[in-house]
Symmetry: C3
């Protein structure tokens, strides 16, 4: 069964100063799209480069997640460090996902150019940074989710099926 | 009061072989957009990586500029080195600004794909590379200027107000 | 006369397990666009970082190619390593070409976001990664070919003329 990691990156949520709304928003979007069975592993970490990286490595190597979604920490503020922490553990960057997410968000708000999210591969795990706001999470995930099944096929992850009434996932590399 | 640095990168302009038209073009665009008070620090430097980097560090750390705009040196020619010199002094790259500027320019000229400009943060300073031609300066600045006030809010820079009759600046992080 | 290198990156094609269709597809597209005289140097290499890099260096420095097109090895699969091998030998990256190619492909297939191709300059050579599928080769080359003559002018390459009935190449830096 496919395992998916969700990492909320937020100083305040990690200290319990407010409720994490971003992680549940990612979860709700994934539940909406994914028809096949999956289980989730959830982390809430502060905006600390080493702690973010450590969560990604644990989810990839210990928990065997094929997909990890981070949320938060992708802006230009001093504490925003998620893209750097992600790049630290990636073996291959996939620049197209960040480009596509920014291009879609830019049609909504001009500040989308400030978003620094990246994506890439570590071993058999696809890692995608999403922004922190629930509205932006939905927009950005919609911009790239159709490519996730093909990426899973290419990196040898378990099968994932998206709801065809919501999104058409092109899968040229699917093994029958 | 907000301080803005303008760095013209050009071998010939720095030697006085021709008049710098790029720096004044940046200045004219900023004067058109910015309603709040600001003062400017201007440098003209040759296409030398160390000299460009040194100008950026001086404007950021000695002069206290919250925004630095460079113009010139962003193409593929042998002497074009502004993006590398900028990356040398950035702490965080903001890939979305370069992407957005190239996407806008590409609607005008197919050679926009050759433009290598980047942007990012050093300390409390946003640094943006613009191309050298006055026409491209106006197009590229228009593509990203609406995000500058929010970026200033996020990095703790002085307040900046753009002319709302020209551009709507989305400021979700403004402190009242 | 302009020299153009074509590098097919494929484990199976390099072992002769199947016919290389990608290299000939690149050649056919170049023959369609380029009116001026050119000669070609062709390599077929496995998905090995060192062998790809060595082919690029040889084509640039020994064969004097002004333009090198690679095809294949740009996806997220474990053996796909062409962008990294290319970056190893580039002096300047041109991010706009990869961005423009992905943006065009994304209008056709959602999996275009998984494409990692890059481009850039080594010495007096422009190197462009293209994907491996003949259909994607045509789409991606069409997205950037109009900028190639200007880039050649800027890096001091021999003159190249594209068929004006197919594409309008903007050449602001052409020496008369």
């Amino acid at each position: 069964m496919m395992k998916i990691g969700i990492v909320t990156v937020s100083d305040r949520a990690s200290r319990g100063e407010y409720e994490d709304l971003s992680g549940p928003a990612v979860m709700a979007e994934l539940e909406r799209y994914i028809l096949s069975k999956w289980e989730t592993h959830v982390h809430i970490v502060p905006d600390e480069r080493d702690e973010i990286s450590a969560a990604l490595v644990e989810l990839s190597e210990v928990n065997g997640c094929s997909l990890i979604i981070t949320t938060g920490g992708t802006g230009p503020a001093p504490r925003d460090i998620t893209p750097e922490a992600t790049r630290d553990v990636l073996e291959k960057e996939l620049p197209g996902l960040g480009e596509a997410m920014r291009a879609v968000s830019l049609k909504k708000v001009p500040t989308a150019v400030l978003s620094r999210q990246i994506a890439g591969i570590r071993g058999s795990t696809l890692i995608i940074n999403l922004p922190g706001s629930p509205k932006a999470i939905a927009e950005c995930l919609e911009a790239v989710i159709a490519a996730v099944p093909d990426c899973m096929d290419l990196i040898g992850a378990p099968d994932i099926t998206l709801d065809p009434s919501l999104i058409h996932s092109h899968r040229p590399h699917k093994l029958h």
